[in-house]
Amino acid sequence: MKLSPVRALLAAAFGLGVTAPAFAADPIKIAVIAEASSISGAAIPNAAKLAADEINAAGGVNGRMIQIVDYDDHNSAADAVRAFQRAKNEDHAVAVIASYVSEVVLALEPWSGRLQLPMITPGAASDDISHRVHADYDHLKYTFHGYLASTFLSDSVCDGLKTIAIEQMHAKTAVVMSEDAAWTIPLDAEYLKCVPKVGLQVLDHIRLSPDTTDFTPVFNKIEALKPDLIVTGISHVGVQPTVQWHDQQVPIPMVGVASQATSSTFYKDTNGAAEGVIYQTVSAPDVAVTPKTIPFTKAYEKRFGITPAYCGYTTYDEVYYIADAIKRAGSTDADKLVAALEKTSWDGTIGKVEFYGRDSDFTHAIKVSPEYIGGLLVQWQSGKQVTVWPTNVANAKMTFPAFIKLPAK
């Protein structure tokens, strides 16, 4: 390749290297785009590096090492698009693991198609991610949804409610409380269908702005309705509603999706107000969902000092099954890689990972069912995350702080 003067000048000016042809022993680059200053976001690069180091220690993929290239998107769609372009054109990544925020992933999805660079999200939930792949497969087939779609998250919570709310708490009524965001639109739609189906009357459905800092009016309104349960769908907010729930002694238990609660720092951030909160997740530190779950949690805790947030588990698996797909495809070519990823059948930390096909509405979303990936309900008890559902893996019974009033039998 001849180096044009303009290119040399620009390379010098920007301090960037000039593209060289790839050699067989060059590392395989996987890009990671996430918001580094949030707890959920930070788990993504951390878990990816952990997985890459393990794969490399075991000899890499066909003799090539895996290298994680890590970008901070500051939770901005524009920064993420820029990082994505850089990953493709400058760093020559073969695949991207991107963000836990649906807004960001939906902005990246068309770019994944335009630049033909496979992308998997470890934590965004919006159903639209896979619906769009279904609607325009030829262009968008490069996007994979490596986390439960919102509808499946609701279903998982409802499954758990059947046991813990109806059978154990004897609850009859609930209020659905979720934040106004892309991922909660399908989540709420499904909640409103499945919560009544398990036998809980939904008294109200409250959507709150993710900018809310004072939750007093919200809890007030909920308490006036006297429900037995608050079913949550929160991710961007978490610490503040939890602390205010505790400080104001709102006597109603909270159960549902609460992404921030999945990290072990949540207890400290809330000064222990998390006590009694129940959240849905796919893996927990205390449960061997698969034989890989606990070793991963231990290794992660040893290296980073905290337990992984929910998207740490999915990211760790994703690096492994991307590597596996490259091995099976025998190539890092985007179309071959997509074809190989579609045939993924990987036993990871969250269960057995397979993707729905073209015929499903949820094209390229991970399959959800007990034989693939179920869900867990985990409760904060004395500063520990303990699994309370499903009963066959539960390590403890539910307990609540004194201010919670459970319905009479």
């Binding site: 303009v6 290119r7 939770n75 769609a77 524009a78 820029r82 068309p110």
Partner: protein, 304 residues
């Protein structure tokens, strides 16, 4: 530097930039494309602040109005891109006139607050009507300007070149001088027989027109319109920093500052979370020690 020489210099730089796609990677082109749109934001802001003296904290009110008008028309009415962009620019001009009314009555921090409130209201409206606007999620657009990096780059470059020449020409014309005079002392400028109101209104319209156009084109480049890219206060802050860094009252400096800011943010990427910190610190050092900005520092000897 006289006007003819300045224009010649600008044309040479633009011609050189137009050759870049033959020599550099798509990644750098993508970066510059974003830089060019930001450059138009910053130049428009400079016309309003640097020349007309209006402390506008809300460039993203004009940008966002243009972008969302264009985006909604494309998403729902499936108008072609050019029609959406024109409509967006028109809506931004109306927004500019709405801002101009208080600007003629209020001064300094009071007007600054009104512009800030305008941004917050726009943002709240978009979030409130999330069902239509996509809210914080963002609005996906069926059309994009181009997929190819080079084409996108040329479109952005041509757009910046034309906008820049027009804005720069305006600032160097009699209108620019009258604006500058009324920005510094409106009473005196009025006493000299200039119609301050008319000129300020014109400045608002022109600034809004280019902000709206650039906002609309940016979303058609990215293929998505979101609050974070065209409305958020942070977007406005970046525009202001770019213009101040490059040198106020120079128009061209604003463009320079914008491209620098986008480039620096990217070069500092290895610092991860600290990159914004470092960019802000550099900007702070510049305004403390080189208050004239980059271009001000270069032209310093010639001007005085």
């Amino acid at each position: 530097m006289d006007n003819r020489k300045s224009f010649a210099a600008i044309l040479i730089v633009l011609a050189a930039l137009a050759l870049l796609p033959f020599g550099v990677s798509g990644y750098i082109l993508g970066l510059l494309t974003l830089g060019f749109y930001t450059a138009v934001f910053a130049m428009s802001w400079d016309l309003l602040f640097g020349f007309a003296g209006e402390v506008n904290f809300g460039p993203s009110f004009l940008i966002g109005t243009g972008a969302y008008t264009a985006g909604l028309l494309n998403h729902y009415a499936i108008w072609p891109i050019w029609a959406c962009t024109m409509a967006g620019a028109g809506a931004a001009v109306i927004g500019g006139l709405l801002l101009a009314v208080p600007a003629l009555r209020l001064r300094g921090p009071y007007f600054g607050l009104v512009t800030l409130v305008a941004v917050l209201l726009l943002q709240n409206m978009i979030v409130l009507f999330a069902g239509t606007t996509g809210g914080e999620i963002g609005l996906d657009l069926p059309d994009v300007l181009a997929v190819d990096d080079s084409n996108n780059y040329w479109i952005a470059l041509a757009f910046m070149g034309i906008s820049g020449l027009l804005l720069f020409g305006l600032s160097r014309s009699a209108v620019g001088l009258i604006l500058q005079a009324s920005g510094q002392d409106a009473v005196q400028a009025g006493a000299l027989g200039f119609n301050v109101t008319k000129h300020k209104l014109a400045a608002f319209c022109v600034s809004a027109l280019f902000s709206g156009l650039a906002g609309a084109m940016l979303i058609f480049y990215e293929g998505t319109a979101s609050v974070g890219t065209v409305v958020d206060i942070g977007v406005g802050v970046q525009v202001i920093i770019a213009a101040v860094l490059g040198g106020r009252r120079t128009i061209l400096g604003a463009a320079l500052g914008a491209v620098f800011l986008i480039g620096a943010g990217e070069m500092l990427r290895p610092l991860g979370e600290l990159s914004t910190f470092v960019v802000s610190a550099v900007a702070l050092v510049v305004i403390l020690f080189v208050p004239g900005g980059f271009l001000g520092a270069v032209l310093h000897g010639e001007r005085r």
